[in-house]
């Protein structure tokens, strides 16, 4: 039993050597298909980086009533921090505001007017690394309900528009990725089927000498899986190489593409899945007697 299994697996490996041409063609075909997929994957993952950058520029400024005291401020801060969708907050006290004013305009407002007209305020940063669109209205509403809040300034319509556009873009990207995934699978399984077609006589002969369907299928599967893994690894190498090169080009723009740690597993998953399914289908087709 162990010997038979070992034989079947070694058969799969030897089949690759025996049919070098089909093996090479299959791997090349798969690599090219997977490359398109993995580029799409990388773009998908990194488009998030873009929106995160934009989100980091979103600004909600909360101005408090002038009579809010310093210890009230820290309470307000922690209340705002607790609101869902808030990433961080920075409190600017009246004194801070005065100093900032002085830094920017060179004038001391308090000396000029005799009192400090600048109210304490707070800059609220929203979460940026969520897959969901960020809509600030809910946050605004909760902040407004807090005691001591005077006025809120934020770029509401702009944010909503950006988020809508991003949402749309993600949808289109998912659609394209799905279509390309489908195309990849069909082309890859066509390739494996053709390589099975070239060997149908051999399969027929095996069947005639009493080989069961499994006996014929397993080496073919092993072969297909090995080719798939090879293709997956090659594609990974290629993608990483292209990324490194792309990052050199992009460094001018201060933009850095990150490969996702899921890229390799995803590639292997897709390729092995396709390998198994199409080998299964191809062999079944030629064993139908």
């Amino acid at each position: 039993m162990m010997d038979r299994l070992a034989f079947l697996i070694s058969e799969g490996i030897r089949n690759i050597v025996r049919h070098k041409l089909t093996a090479t063609t299959t791997v090349v075909s798969m690599v090219l298909n997977l490359a398109v997929l993995s580029v799409l994957f990388v773009i998908g993952v990194n488009s998030h980086q873009l929106i995160e950058y934009v989100r980091s520029k979103y600004k909600i400024e909360v101005f408090f009533l002038p009579d809010v005291r310093t210890d009230d401020l820290s309470r307000l801060k922690s209340e705002i921090d607790a609101i869902e969708g808030v990433r961080s907050t920075t409190i600017i006290t009246s004194d801070d505001a005065k100093r900032i004013f002085k830094d920017q305009f060179g004038e001391d407002v308090e000396l000029m007017l005799g009192y400090n007209p600048l109210p304490p305020s707070c800059v609220v940063n929203v979460v940026r690394d969520t897959k969901e669109p960020v809509y600030p209205e809910a946050i605004i509403r909760q902040i407004r309900a807090l005691e001591g809040v005077d006025e809120i300034s934020y770029q509401g319509r702009l944010i909503t528009r950006i988020e809508k556009a991003y949402e749309q873009a993600v949808k289109i990207e998912v659609l394209i990725a799905a279509v390309i995934l489908l195309i990849t699978i069909v082309i890859m399984s066509g390739t494996i089927r053709l390589s099975a077609y070239a060997r149908q006589e051999l399969m027929k002969s095996l069947q005639l000498i009493g080989a069961s369907r499994w006996f014929i299928k397993i080496p073919f599967m092993v072969e297909s899986i090995l080719l798939s893994i090879t293709a997956g690894l090659l594609t990974y190498g290629l993608t990483m190489g292209a990324l490194r090169w792309g990052n050199v080009l992009l460094s001018r723009y201060r933009f850095h593409i990150n490969p996702d740690p899921m890229l390799l597993p995803a590639l292997l998953l897709v390729s092995i899945f396709v390998g198994i399914v199409s080998a299964q289908r191809a062999v079944s087709k030629f064993l139908r007697t």
Binding site: D3, A6, F7, R18, L202, L206, L208, I209, G210, T289
Partner: protein
């Protein structure tokens, strides 16, 4: 035990075998003769259930052609050593690997295979050709690879479809002698041929066919 009961098989394009009935008992050595195109190969294909009768029943070792399930057919074939008229060798591997194949199919151990294959290759006179591909052999050598592949698994039944077509008379007689000795060990042998010289002067049972029908014995 091989038994045909009023077996008829007709190809879609016409031609085939009609109303064939006969029996071969365990340990028999039976010849099947008849002119080219009379249906010998078709009859043999029904024994290893590559073809299933349109009418009638074929029984092989307890398997009935009208009841057998598709996944039982490999089991049936594993007990039969088949020498195909058109060899059906796998050209993507060596002679030795071709001969080893049925043993792998039956799940023999590696050591067992390593011992059996050279022995049987020697028996059919293919020593020194182990590593050739079938396409690198002469016609007669290919035929002997096919014979070796049938013998190596030590089957209960040997079906030989014109196994001497590409062999010279000396080698042919050697093969018959080899089959004789195997038959002595209790193996049933059913061999088709059109080489009347080969069976002349032997007192074995001979089934004669003509135009798809049995002519008598």
């Amino acid at each position: 035990m091989i038994e045909f009961q009023h077996v008829t098989y007709e190809f879609r394009r016409g031609g085939g075998i009609y109303d064939i009935s006969f029996q071969i008992r365990e340990g028999d050595f039976v010849f099947l003769i008849g002119p080219t195109g009379c249906g010998k190969t078709t009859l043999m294909r029904m024994i290893y259930m590559d073809l299933i009768p349109n009418k009638g029943v074929v029984e092989i070792d307890g398997y009935y052609s009208n009841k057998i399930k598709r996944r039982q057919i490999p089991k049936l074939r594993q007990n039969i050593g088949m020498i195909f008229q058109d060899y059906h060798l796998l050209d993507d591997r060596s002679v030795a690997q071709n001969v080893a194949l049925p043993l792998h199919v039956m799940g023999h151990s590696k050591n067992n295979i390593a011992a059996l294959v050279p022995e049987v290759l020697d028996q059919v006179g293919l020593k020194g050709k182990e590593n050739h591909k079938p396409s690198e052999l002469s016609g007669g050598e290919q035929q002997r690879v096919c014979i070796a592949r049938a013998l190596v698994k030590d089957p209960d039944i040997i079906l030989a479809d014109e196994p001497t077509g590409n062999l010279d008379p000396v080698t042919s007689f050697d093969l018959i002698a080899l089959l004789d000795s195997i038959n002595k060990d209790g193996v049933t042998i059913f061999m088709s041929t059109h080489d009347y010289n080969l069976i002349k002067g032997r007192d074995q049972r001979v089934i004669q066919m003509q135009k798809g029908r049995l002519l008598g014995e």
